[in-house]
Amino acid sequence: MIRRDDCIRLLAVHHTDEIVVPLYQAAFEWYAIKPWPLTYYAFGAMGQGSSHGLGFAIGVPERQVWVLDGDGSLLMNLGALVTIAEAAPENLVHFVFENGTYEANGAHPIPGAGVVNLAGIAKAAGIPNVHEFSEMEALAEALPGLVAAPGPTFVDLKVVPGGRYEYRWDVVHGPESRAIFRRAMQAVLAAR
């Protein structure tokens, strides 16, 4: 198994200029590990991170978009996989941290924990590039090629919690992080 914060540290090493949409626990860890103005924390409603990611991928096709999703969130918006497959944005990488629980809401198990095959669902939805990792070494080796390939790409990461990170709901829902993101996006658009 992969520690989620180790995984996020690895993503941070390979991150260059991508738009990042992290959700819940991944949001708190990304915020602590990789401060980056083109991070959109305001997913608003559970499950909606992947759909925001698709919107950014359509709106800014010259920039790669990384969604850092959770398994519970993915299950709440499974149809998004079909929508993403049909829209086929080459610049979207959808990472899912599969820990089998609703970690930010009391760590209750998700339906189908340990049984549901998220990568299989993504393949069946029509996502062309689907990967699954449960070992850090394999992920580290594959990651550069995986993010360089044309998407849409789906990456299921079997994780366990890592260190403790403060729950920064003020960052997720507060206006300041949206304002920071908006300014960063305006710079991206101005550079076109």
């Binding site: 409603a45 759909s51 925001h52 359509i58 709106g59 149809g79 079909v82 049909e86 993101f181 996006m185």
Partner: protein, 170 residues
């Protein structure tokens, strides 16, 4: 002069409003008169979604990208997406523009007084989450689309356009 609401006039007005992307789940009111031509219109990118709340998020994200977008759905989809509309569009104050077929409505009737529960709850539901809306029932209502969409983007607020009369096909 024929004052019947029709799809071609709505479509040309949406384009005049700067809409470039249409995100949709089909709805029976706008299906033939509006969504069908949109789906083949080379000037618009059409994104089909499985569920309406996906569309709220896609339109919200596009609002940061300098791209005007419209979510088309039936009021049943709106009811199903209320948390996304409340949180993402209204709560965060984002210009999510929605065109909502009011299935079951009758053009000459005030939908708030409809005997149909599915119709009379629609406008109050958006009132409850503080989303402004307009009702399109006749051709004369169509010019209100441009200021509604311009206003949504200028003030960074969501807006909904209810289509209260079945749009005839071509």
């Amino acid at each position: 002069m024929n004052d019947t609401l029709n799809g071609p006039r709505i479509l040309s007005t949406l384009k005049a409003s700067g809409i470039e992307v249409v995100v949709s789940v089909p709805d029976v009111v706008t299906s033939e008169g509006l969504l069908r031509p949109i789906s083949t219109d080379p000037d618009l990118r059409h994104v089909r979604v499985c569920k309406e709340d996906e569309g709220v998020s896609i339109c919200a994200a596009l609002s940061y990208c300098g791209t005007r977008a419209l979510l088309m759905m039936q009021q049943t989809g709106m009811y199903d997406s209320m948390n996304a509309i409340r949180a993402i569009a209204a709560g965060y104050g984002l210009p999510v523009c929605m065109l909502i077929g009011l299935q079951g409505a009758v053009a000459d009737e005030d939908p708030r007084r409809s005997e149909k529960h599915i119709v009379r709850c629609a406008l109050p539901a958006l009132d409850a989450v503080e989303v402004e809306h307009r009702l399109l029932r006749r051709a004369g209502d169509v010019p209100a689309i441009v200021p509604a969409i311009d206003g949504a983007y200028r003030r960074s607020r969501p807006v909904a356009l209810f289509v209260g009369a079945m749009l005839p096909g071509p």
